[in-house]
Amino acid sequence: MKSQELQNVVAGFTHEAFGSQAVFRTSLNALSYPGRPLEMPLDCALPRQGQGAAAALLLGLLDSDTTLWMSPSVLHSDATPWIRFHTGCKVVDDVRAAQFIWVAYGDSLPQISKLMLGSDAYPDQSATCIIETQGFDNGVADLVLQGPGIDGDRRLNVMGLPEVFVDQWASNHGIFPRGVDVFLTDATHVVGLPRTTRISRKTKA
């Protein structure tokens, strides 16, 4: 890492063990209760670019054995040296080789079927995708979620989710047990979407 890059790096977790464990617990809960927005504990300094919840989630999950692909607007910002310095992860150019994908808000979503999907023998070797959105609110819910962890169905309204996501998600769900897991984030909250969740658009009455 060049010293010029290091110049703009801010601190990581205030307390490394507690901070990363709190983040890990939140991500576990998010995947256990698909579609439920959970508040992300932000006990760390954050880079200027990229949403806080997404940055904190990656800071907690990544280590030196993991590969990360970043969408252009976070890749060319102070987020890259920050995440590399604190986690030691490898930032890769090829989205197909990445174990974690960070898609910043406004950047186009890479095609989910092109990501690491794991194999039938090792479905755990698939990518985890973190997609930034504008936010979740309790207004008119446009998505209906069903599957393990959801009693009946769950309504979720996501603002700023790329249009293509729902269709791509259907094919991702179709190749179970392979497929990627997704976290949707806004500045402070995170929503987990494990590959077992079915998503359908609410039919307009």
Binding site: S3, L6, Q7, N8, V9, V10, A11, G12, E16
Partner: protein
């Protein structure tokens, strides 16, 4: 080990790679005397708190042969920023042998100060030159101690035979 940046000529000004190598091998007392007062006056903000771990040391047979793993050493590292986060305050980094967190902090503060033009000249004279002297002295002491155990092998030439015995095969 004496490196080419242990050059002690007075006009020699070091670059960062060189002074970090010097700081890593600087005696603790010297670091404490020179850098200690700066720690009291400025509150560093940590990028990475001092942490101790193991590093694998690799070496080459005879210095040029196959590379092999020599063994693991204990290393303490840290990174800190002096002053505010404004893109101008220098970031100091240190990697030192051993488990002394204070020594790692002192070396990182010294690294940050050396990047600051207002402190560089002062520290160059007060800290880096004495460290070079110290390392040079340490090197020559070790060298002379090792020299006493040196054995020179030589072959005693046999006297020319008188001719009757003939050549020994």
């Amino acid at each position: 080990m004496l490196h080419k940046f242990d050059n002690t000529s007075p006009e020699f000004t070091s670059i960062r790679k060189e002074w970090m190598a010097l700081l890593a091998r600087a005696p603790n007392t010297l670091l404490n005397d020179i850098v200690g007062p700066h720690i009291a006056s400025t509150q560093p903000s940590w990028l990475r708190r001092p942490e101790t771990g193991l590093m694998m040391i690799q070496a080459r047979v005879g210095g040029s042969g196959e590379r092999f793993n020599l063994g693991e050493v204990t290393v303490t590292r840290c990174a800190l920023r002096l002053g505010e986060m404004d893109g101008a305050s220098p970031v100091g980094v240190s990697y030192v042998l051993g488990r002394d967190h204070k020594q790692a902090q002192l070396a990182a503060v010294a690294d940050a100060l050396l990047q600051d033009a207002t402190h560089h000249g002062d520290l160059e004279v007060k800290l880096l030159q004495p460290v070079r002297q110290f390392l040079k002295h340490q090197q020559s002491t070790r060298h002379s101690r090792a020299q006493t155990t040196k054995v020179d092998f030589f072959t005693v030439a046999r006297e020319a035979s008188s001719g009757e015995d003939g050549e020994l095969s």
